[in-house]
Amino acid sequence: MDLLERQFILVTGKGGVGKTAVAAALALVAARRRKRVLVVGLEPRDALGPRLGVEPAVSPSPHAAVPPFLHLARVDPDSAALDFFEAHLPTRGMARLLHSSSLWRTIYGATPGLKDIVVAGKLARLVLGKEPAFDHVIVDAAATGHLEALYAAVDTAVSVFGGPIGREATALASLFTDRARTAVHIVCLPEQMSILEARDLVGRAARRGIPLGALIVNDLPSPWGAAERDVALPGDLVRARLWPDAVPYLDRAMNLARMRALSAMESLVQGGDLDLPKIALPAVDDAADDPGVVRSLADAIVAPDPRLAVFIERPQGVSS
């Protein structure tokens, strides 16, 4: 599947799976294709900037142009609310006054779903806006639990909220669930818990109207013939060509590598019947600096390593 088929792309997954790196890599791929792409972070601390080798944008401008095609922004509930007020109140002054009132802050903090709707509204404006217009808006989205909450909030907003928030809600719901315009990619690791989490989300996605894209399995080890029988280290050869004490360390390294491959394989087989296109991404040398890691991932997206296919292809003879 082409991960960049849609205009609006949300990248989700549990903490620690590599969501941010993958979102950044997707953005880089799009930019290399000379598309205008905006990549957006939702965290209070900018994690995308370091990954792309960019200084965080200095407010008030939310976009920092990297190369001509790649733009970076941060959306947070607070500034998104101010944005919203400025759009719907007669003057900037009124917007600021309301936004800074502790009464508003209390209500904003305590009302379920309100922050999500406001953030979603800001994202929608970025996607649908004409100045500037982006070919892609890629969001380093929240972990799966929060993504589901966001979709739930968007879904119920029409009946729960009134005023301009309520009115926006319909258009929001339409964009976020539109399979033609939006895709939600799930990033996971080749570990049992991660796969099961992804599977849970896939199971609930339809009900929540989440338009799933692909399952991106990240951090895959070298396969080491993971499907094959035992491989033994030729001790005599190693002792002869290297030195006598070389065998234990080589043996250990090899066994660890094979164990990783076997374990990855096992976890994917267990989650195997996930009805979603799968993309395999390699474990990348994380000693490289962050932009180096993202470039490697972008390369892997564009030119997938055929050896990793063994992890994500369905085994022969298994009925679907």
Partner: protein, 428 residues
């Protein structure tokens, strides 16, 4: 404790009684509640914390760390290590993996601690000393919050009002960041039971765990007590009684998001306001417990991956700022130490490869395997070197004398109790 609290604020007239403290100061407790549950509970909690630790008071380990580092497994391993050392140890988990729960052979993990069966441990090669036990529980958000509001409410009526509020479900679901509060509340409960020598508390990933340990007045994020009081008052006396300035703001907010929502929030906030005093007592109890180095220690868990290490460093700094005692750091899934062979390979990997070139060319059996193993060894050695630098950064950030333990990468997740026992042995 049967006197119901008088309603806060006068029956009619302005809410802004000049006699009441406003803004940032703690709200005066409503008449009647001072003689109720809150005050008695406060005395009990204070008395308990003020005593020097006795044989019956459990020690507490609070395990923090970024997502995906293996906090829950490490928490369970720490409890197992303590049990092996003769203690009655309990691990309270947050969101345990199926595999861990299966490994513990307790069926389903729930609110009430359950003993890991001795024969399950024996089967994994673990024999516990006389009197020792390993117990496990999982944080039950619903039950914990229901109990908390019972403790904190001045009357059962107030608790019921909150429990019936549709916004309460959101708190119970943990989406409003209430996981951390619930974990701390559960800790206070388990501590009071004095049924364990050690409680190991798993926490939700990331820094939010520490936000819940903030000053008692910051219980509910973004809710400042002056506004809370206002909303609480409004919910009882009707929106019309708010002072003119507040009314203007409310009007605008209602215009933005709809008036019905504001009413619901006002009712919700009102119910919480009524419990503010009781919630504060609990929060103060937690504060004192976790800040007492004789009772509590924090364990920072990380992996050797860059993001987790940054997370650990941020946690160490935050713990230091809040004067919370760190007892150790644990690096999980680390590459093995470099031995002499590995060091030699690191120095001249290409030369090592060349030694196999002719064997590969002439088709010596398994020569390719040897080369693949060599590549894996070089990669592993490099990984260890990079990881060592990161581990050193963590060690350097810790307070003086606090150790850093390293748990080896096994290349796979936990398979059973014997795996857990191996990790426990590494942590002993």
């Amino acid at each position: 404790m049967s006197t119901p609290a008088e309603p806060d604020g006068p029956a009619g007239g302005s809410f802004f009684d000049p006699g009441r403290p406003e803004g940032g100061a703690s709200p005066t407790p409503p008449r009647g509640s001072a003689t109720g549950r809150s005050a008695r509970q406060k005395r009990a909690v204070s008395a308990r914390i003020a005593r020097p630790p006795t044989g019956t008071m459990p020690r507490v380990l609070i395990v923090v760390g970024s997502g995906g580092v293996g906090k829950t497994t490490i928490s369970a391993a720490l409890a197992l290590a303590a049990a092996r050392a003769g203690q009655r140890a309990l691990v309270c988990t947050i969101d345990p993996a199926r595999r861990l729960v299966d490994a513990l052979k307790v069926g389903v993990l729930g609110d009430a601690p359950i003993d890991v069966p001795a024969d399950a441990l024996r089967g994994a090669g673990v024999e516990l000393p006389e009197g020792a036990v390993l117990r496990a529980a999982e944080l039950d958000m619903r039950r914990t919050w229901d109990r908390l509001i019972q403790y904190a409410a001045p009357t059962p009526e107030v608790a019921r009002r909150l429990a019936e509020n549709p916004l309460y479900q959101r708190v119970v679901d943990g989406l409003s960041g209430s996981h951390e509060l619930a974990a701390m509340e559960r800790l206070l409960e388990l501590d009071a039971e004095e049924a364990q020598d050690l409680i190991v508390l798993d926490t939700p990933p990331g820094r939010h765990a520490l936000d819940a340990l903030a000053a008692p007045d910051d219980l509910l994020s973004n809710l400042d007590s002056g506004v809370l009081k206002l909303l609480g008052g409004m919910s009882r006396a009707g929106l019309g009684l708010a002072a003119r300035g507040a009314q203007a703001v409310l009007g605008r907010v209602a215009g933005m998001i709809g008036g019905k929502t504001i009413e619901e929030v006002a009712r919700f906030a009102g119910a919480f306001y009524d419990m503010a005093d009781g919630l504060r007592v609990r929060a103060e109890g937690v504060q004192r417990l976790i800040q007492d180095p004789q009772r509590t220690g924090f364990v920072v868990v990380s992996s050797a991956r860059p993001a987790a290490v940054e997370g650990a460093l941020a946690l160490i700094e935050a713990l230091g700022e809040r004067k919370l005692p760190i007892v150790r750091a644990i690096i999980n899934r680390a590459a093995p130490r470099i031995d002499d062979s590995a060091a030699r390979l690191l120095e001249a990997p290409d030369e090592a490869r060349r030694r196999f070139a002719d064997a590969v060319r002439s088709g010596v059996p398994d020569a390719r395997v040897a080369v693949a193993a060599l590549d894996a060894a070089v990669a592993l050695a490099r990984r260890t070197r990079v990881e060592s630098e990161r581990i050193a950064r963590i060690a350097a950030a810790l307070p003086a004398g606090i150790p850093t333990a390293v748990v080896a990468d096994r290349g796979r997740s936990l398979a059973g109790l014997s795996d857990l026992a191996e990790v426990a042995a590494e942590l002993s």
